[in-house]
């Protein structure tokens, strides 16, 4: 067994209690250890991605119990890509948090941050539905703490809503898991893929209820309409770097949908083949519309970013809902882009809000921001990335999504919705940008107090924009990796074999 597979979970899981128990009085030591652990995590995930790019999935049997009796972690191209993305984002966020002193505004930021990474990595790596639930809870309970970091009445009230919505979601998750277990007698994803086609006709209805409930739970995480309502309130009230980190949380929902509904309810599932498609596509299109209308209608800059994130989840899940290899490639490409773009916007937005004095993040004319050029430039770049204009990756991603929709029955609707909503979001971002930077600059009178731009936080936000540029430049090799990823998703026999089949016996 390749023990590196468990490191992305074990490393933060050890680091978090270590920070709480021994370093709690010394912020600088916490920073050093947290940053070092995050960088080490990035190094490990790069190694894992290189391993996974080799082709065959690798399985890690926890406690050496063979599947389906024990819980397994599975490293394939998709999960490697996701942990790598999470680690990249985490490094940027931890640099931003340390350099902008966000971690001074409350206690235990770094410990919660590490627990959050543990939950996210676990959710990406696990090959067991109930274990997925457990890691969801780990990442959620850490996210409650992170979301409330710094306190304040508005934040705590938003936090109550966030926790209630997610507790209700967890309850549904358990119902779904229970139903699936009652029908199939297993919770291992690979084993589910084997058992689902064998379910007798009498139990089909129950199986579908369980599977679709699972879709609802993942949709809550992915902020899919009509269960997206918690996101703007939560992310707008969360500390900015935490909101940037949460950009990966919506992707956990999207990842889970891709994983479960291509593996267990994919092409080999007999009567239940592509069960999610009929429900996911309309919901994703409505999400796209509502998210982009929200960009146009938002009254504060932070909410605008939140709605942009919802809109990008709409694009992403539209591509997922097509359930073809080409569309999934496009979806994964857009997923990477959307993570970078949302994180960049949240971080730039935080710097803008800090400099607008009492106007905060409200979209009103306010005294102009001193030396706003670089900030305006970063906002502009992140916004055109998010809105999907060339030359950044939003454009490439949307192009791939549109291209993959060709030949689908609902091609007209998908093209119309994506193109019109892109225009709407361009107008929305243009309105916000010109209001904050140009209109405010035209007001006579003094500017907000001159403050030099802090180097590292701007560099962190810039790194996310640079990430988008790099992704656009290296779109060829990345797409090659993603094509291999979706090809293996649509031919899961290698995955199933390595978890359950003859290859498992050969390994022992």
């Amino acid at each position: 067994m390749n023990h590196w597979i468990v490191v992305p979970i074990v490393l933060p899981a050890l680091m978090a209690p270590f920070i709480v128990l021994t370093l709690r009085h010394d912020l600088w030591l916490q920073r050093v250890f947290s940053a070092a652990a995050t960088v080490a995590l990035l190094a490990v995930t790069i190694g894992l991605t290189v391993t996974a790019a080799g082709g065959t999935p690798e399985v890690y049997e926890l406690g050496n119990w063979p599947a389906p009796f024990g819980i397994v972690l599975v490293l394939d191209r998709l999960s490697a890509l996701m942990v790598l993305l999470a680690a990249l984002l985490a490094v940027v966020v931890v640099i931003y948090v340390i350099s902008s002193n966000w971690d001074k505004r409350g206690r235990h930021f770094h410990a919660l941050f590490q627990f959050q990474l543990m939950g996210v990595n676990g959710a990406f790596l696990t090959g067991d539905v109930f274990n997925l639930f457990v890691f969801f809870e780990v990442l959620l309970i850490a996210s409650y703490g992170l979301m409330l970091h710094g306190g304040g009445a508005a934040r705590v009230r938003a936090g109550v809503q966030y926790v209630v919505v997610n507790l209700a979601g967890s309850t549904l998750f358990l119902v779904a898991v229970g139903t699936l277990y009652a029908v199939t007698g297993t919770l291992n994803m690979a084993d589910l893929a084997v058992k689902v086609p064998l379910v007798p006709a009498g139990d089909q209805a129950l199986l579908r209820v369980g599977a679709l409930l699972l879709l609802v739970v993942f949709a809550v995480k992915a902020a899919l309409v009509p269960i997206h309502f918690w996101l703007p309130g939560t992310y707008a009230n969360a500390p900015a770097p935490v909101a940037a980190l949460f950009a990966i949380m919506t992707k956990v929902g999207a990842y889970s949908i891709i994983r479960v509904f291509t593996l267990a309810f994919g092409g080999d599932a007999g009567e239940d083949a592509w069960l999610a498609a009929d429900w996911l596509l309309p919901a994703a299109l409505v999400t796209l519309i509502i998210g982009n209308l929200g960009i146009l209608g938002a009254r504060s800059l932070t909410r605008l970013v939140c709605f942009a994130l919802i809109g990008s989840m709409g694009t992403l899940l539209t591509a997922v809902a097509l359930f073809t290899p080409a569309a999934t490639t496009a979806a994964l490409f857009y997923l990477i882009h959307s993570t970078f773009a949302a994180a960049a916007l949240f971080l730039v937005n935080d710097q803008i809000v800090e400099r607008r004095g009492s106007a905060g993040d409200r979209l009103v004319t306010a005294p102009r921001i001193a030396n706003a050029g670089l900030l305006a430039g970063l906002f502009f770049l992140a916004a055109i990335g998010m809105a999907g204009m060339p030359p950044l990756t939003g454009f490439l991603g949307k192009l791939m999504v549109l291209d993959s929709a060709r030949g689908s029955d609902s091609m007209d609707t998908i093209w119309a919705v994506i193109l019109v909503t892109s225009l709407v979001s361009i107008v929305g971002f243009a309105r916000a940008g010109s209001l904050v930077f140009w209109k405010s600059a035209s007001i006579p009178g003094r500017a907000t107090p001159e403050r030099p731009l802090p180097g590292l936080p701007i560099a962190a936000a810039g790194a996310m924009v640079a990430g988008m540029m790099a992704l656009a430049v290296f779109a060829g090799p990345v797409t090659g990796y993603l094509e291999a990823t979706s090809a293996s998703l649509y031919d899961p026999s290698a995955y199933i074999d390595v978890v359950l089949g003859p290859e498992r016996l050969a390994r022992q």
């Binding site: 109930f130 457990v134 809870e137 309970i141 409650y144 409330l148 306190g151 304040g152 009445a153 508005a154 705590v156 009230r157 938003a158 936090g159 109550v160 809503q161 926790v163 209630v164 507790l167 209700a168 967890s170 309850t171 358990l174 119902v175 898991v177 229970g178 139903t179 277990y181 009652a182 919770l187 309130g233 004095g357 009492s358 106007a359 409200r362 009103v364 004319t365 306010a366 005294p367 007001i443 006579p444 009178g445």
Partner: protein, 131 residues
């Protein structure tokens, strides 16, 4: 017995859902607790209802009950207990900090907007508006 368990789960879920939709934190928390109880019983029943049988291998056993749902229930109980504790503390802090136990945050947002639109504040924020 099936009827008893099923109706127990049903009644608790119904009551929990109703309370969850209330507008104040206390009924919402009770609703969540009731829902999690209902789910625990439901999970237990997913391994089929079996009476007086051991979950682990024994030489004298005539049959077995499925041990996996019992493990799932244990995990679910621990997690829901922890989560309930978190939300109780959180609700208490929200009540102490904002002086209301309403779950809806629109009122708070309105209060903030009203405060921001207060003429005294407005002048400080946008000199353009004054001109």
């Amino acid at each position: 017995m099936e009827f008893l368990v099923a109706s127990g789960v049903g009644v608790m879920s119904a009551a929990g859902t109703y309370l969850l939709l209330r507008g104040r934190t206390f009924p919402v928390i009770i609703g969540l607790a009731l829902l999690s109880y209902a789910i625990n019983v439901f999970l237990f029943a997913t391994g089929r209802l079996v009476i007086d049988q051991p979950p682990i291998i024994s030489e004298t056993a005539t049959g077995y009950t499925d041990p996996l749902p019992q493990a799932l229930v244990l995990t679910a109980i621990v997690i829901s207990f922890g989560m309930t504790a978190v939300i109780v503390v959180l609700a208490l802090r929200a009540y102490l900090e904002s002086g209301t136990d309403a779950v809806d945050i629109d009122e708070a947002a309105e209060a903030e907007t009203a405060h921001a639109e207060d003429p005294a504040n407005d002048r400080a924020q946008s000199p353009g508006g004054v001109a």
